[in-house]
């Protein structure tokens, strides 16, 4: 038999049982879709996080007072102050210590509420800290002015709103927990920049460090950016800080965050892939079941094929190719469905609240590997599922099969 004939017969047989074939295909499709959607959005998440880490230099460490990842608040009682700037600055390899103050806030712009933050920092250090950052309009405010700010691009023109905030207009801010309201005069607007570590620069209001301390009535810092001479110094500096402060502070560097995020996300990929695998397994059982029913129903037809001189191998390949076609169609439809599904999942990725939540909504990533896998794996599963019933069909006794009613 020609391969084209084998598939033609298989497709005709599937079309003869449209409803049943469709249901079997749906099973495969769901399995493939889940795999594609989950892995693509998990890929997207880790890619998004890695990209945001990449914007901060490899020679940069972040030191903060053991921030609680869930609440965003401080876990330890240790307060970071000007003394710590000196202590950190004295560590060998450290070239600069930039203190910062940040607070999660709700920013209201013309009726649109944006979850963002206020960051108080020495504004002259921004370009060194965030590569390529700059102003699209206006100027940086005075370091001492608690009423003036430079705002991120999403605050200036919120997505889904026609409101535009220009230089010399006001933005109002509600401190989280409803502990007060603030208002700022916009002095400058930052270029769209995206995420850095756990913050979105585009949703941030930057004010001077001294202004922040005045405004928030505290002499203490949220943390420090510690810059080292070279990226090679990062490990030794991190070790020195950790031995100095113990568990009072948390030290992170871009590289270690990336690798820890990647390990979490690869575990997640395996876990989510397993869920998809289980659903494919269920679909495989469905294929086996459908094919068994089909083989029994077509017993007589199998007998006829044998009488017409079809060899066992030819009958096997006709039935097996029905499974291949089922798997292939399910795989293609599942990949398409999974593509759309992944955008849904991207929005509800289980990464918790707190600072990490701002890193969650990322575009899913489709690699060639993933698509190839999503197209071929269902076929492989279908072939395995169809093998036993197809074998049974091919080994049927012709005379018994022909007598079957």
């Amino acid at each position: 038999m020609f391969v084209s004939d084998v598939f033609e017969l298989a497709i005709k047989a599937l079309l003869d049982r449209k409803m049943r074939s469709a249901l079997t295909i749906v099973g495969i499709m769901i399995g493939a879709a889940i795999i594609v959607a989950l892995i693509a959005s998990s890929n997207g998440l880790s890619a998004g996080i890695s990209a945001s880490m990449g914007k901060i230099g490899a020679n940069t460490l972040v030191v903060n007072s053991a921030m609680n990842f869930v609440t965003g608040g401080s876990q330890s009682q240790y307060k970071l102050s000007q003394d710590d700037v000196r202590i950190l600055g004295a560590i060998s390899g450290v070239t600069k210590v930039i203190p910062y103050y940040n607070k999660m806030v709700t920013i209201t712009v013309g009726g649109t509420a944006i979850q963002g933050e206020i960051e108080g920092i020495d504004l002259t250090q921004l370009p060194e800290l965030y590569k390529g950052i700059g102003l699209s309009d206006g100027a940086y405010p005075s370091q001492y002015d608690p009423t003036a700010a430079a705002i991120g691009s999403d605050i200036a023109s919120p997505t889904g709103s026609t409101v535009q905030i220009g230089v010399n207009q006001m933005v109002s801010v509600t401190l989280s927990g409803g502990t007060g309201n603030l208002a700022f005069l916009v002095k400058g607007i930052l270029v769209p920049y995206g995420r850095v570590l756990f913050s979105n620069i585009d949703d941030t209001i930057f004010i001077g460090m001294q202004a922040a301390q005045l405004l928030l009535k505290t002499p203490y810092y949220s943390g420090f950016y510690v810059l080292t001479a070279t990226a090679d110094d990062v490990a030794s500096v991190q070790a020195a800080i950790e031995s100095q402060y113990g568990s009072n502070v948390r030290v992170m560097n871009a590289g270690s965050i990336v690798s820890s995020v990647e390990s979490v996300s690869s575990q997640m990929t395996v876990f989510l892939g397993a869920i998809g695998g289980v659903s494919l397994f269920v679909a495989a059982v469905g294929i086996t079941n459908t094919m068994f029913v089909s083989v029994v129903e077509r017993t007589r037809e199998i007998g006829v094929l044998k009488a017409l001189g079809y060899q066992s191998g030819q009958i096997l390949s006709v039935f097996l190719s029905e499974a291949v076609v089922t798997g292939a169609i399910g795989g293609v439809l599942g990949t398409i469905l999974g593509y759309f599904l992944s955008f849904l999942i991207g929005g509800i990725m289980p990464m918790g609240g707190g600072p990490m939540s701002s890193g969650a909504s990322t575009e899913p990533v489709f690699t060639a590997d993933l698509i190839l896998f999503a197209l071929l794996f269902p076929i492989a599963v279908a072939v395995l599922a169809g093998l036993y019933p197809a074998r049974r069909a091919s080994r049927m006794n012709a005379i018994v099969a022909l007598k079957y009613e």
């Binding site: 004939d5 047989a13 037809e301 044998k306 001189g309 012709a398 022909l402």
Partner: protein
């Protein structure tokens, strides 16, 4: 298919028996003057020598066939009659290379049936056509696709096999209905499709199991006319199991089977009525 065998005169008595057993028909015997005897042996379409068939169900054996010796000549139109359970179907299945005998020798078109299953399938495909009482067409396929089925198994290119199938459908008068599914055809039409399918490979033997069992008398006559015409013009050998005297009356020979043995053979016509 003519085989030639040479034996020395001294060995003749010993070997003749085995040669005769193996070939079943001795076409001609010549002596070459040097003590050798040359025999041209023809492989008959169907030859059975002391064939038995025992079916086992659990621990019980049912002998369906107890030593049947039968020769069906090339171009013969044979009918087999007998009560239910007499062994008619067993005879057809063994002749149709669908089943193996328990003992004895069976030859189909000169081929000894001790081959592998795949080779038997190839013999069925190349040399044997089947016609059944219940037509046994494949439902999702159209008439012409059904007729093509035996040709697909042996890799005949698409346009060639479509050609041949279409010709056979026209021969049975169904050119107009080539693209109808079996469910859209009457019983008589379905049986004609089945006949076209049985003949599309130009088989040496057509095995028919109650071919008119589901047909009315007019359709039965039409089918018989067609079968006798094919038999006469193409020399195709037919073995037809039937209950219908109208069918057996039109064959060359009627073989009656009872209790797994040939009870009676009755020659009705000479076989030389077809063009060789």
């Amino acid at each position: 298919m003519i085989h030639t065998a040479c034996v020395h005169r001294r060995e003749l008595s010993k070997d003749l028996r085995s040669i005769l057993k193996n070939s079943l028909i001795v076409h001609s015997i010549m002596a070459d003057g040097q003590g050798h005897i040359k025999m041209n042996l023809v492989g008959a379409p169907v030859g059975m020598l002391e064939v038995t068939k025992v079916y086992s169900a659990g621990h019980v054996d049912y002998p369906a066939f107890r030593g049947v010796t039968l020769k069906i000549e090339r171009g013969e139109l044979t009918s087999i009659i007998g009560p239910s359970g007499s062994g008619k179907s067993t005879l057809l299945n063994i002749n149709g290379v669908l089943d193996r005998s328990t003992s004895g020798r069976v030859k189909t078109d000169g081929i000894d049936l001790r081959e592998s299953d795949d080779q038997l399938a190839r013999i069925r495909n190349g040399k044997i056509g089947f016609i059944y009482q219940s037509f046994n067409l494949i439902k999702p396929l159209t008439a012409v696709e059904n007729v093509e089925m035996p040709l697909i198994a042996r890799k005949i290119p698409r346009n060639l096999r479509r050609d041949r199938a279409t010709k056979l459908l026209s021969a049975v008068g169904l050119a107009q209905k080539a693209h109808k599914r079996p469910t859209e055809l009457s019983g008589g039409e379905q049986q004609r499709v089945a006949v076209a399918r049985a003949l599309v490979t130009k088989p040496a033997i057509v095995i028919a199991d109650e071919p008119t069992g589901n047909l009315d008398s007019k359709t039965t006559r039409e089918l018989l006319n067609y079968i006798t015409e094919v038999n006469r013009t193409m020399g195709t050998t037919f073995v037809i199991v039937t209950h219908n005297p109208e069918v057996s009356e039109r064959t060359h020979r009627v073989i009656t089977i009872r209790d797994g043995m040939i009870e009676k053979e009755q020659r009705l016509q000479r076989i030389d009525s077809f063009a060789k």
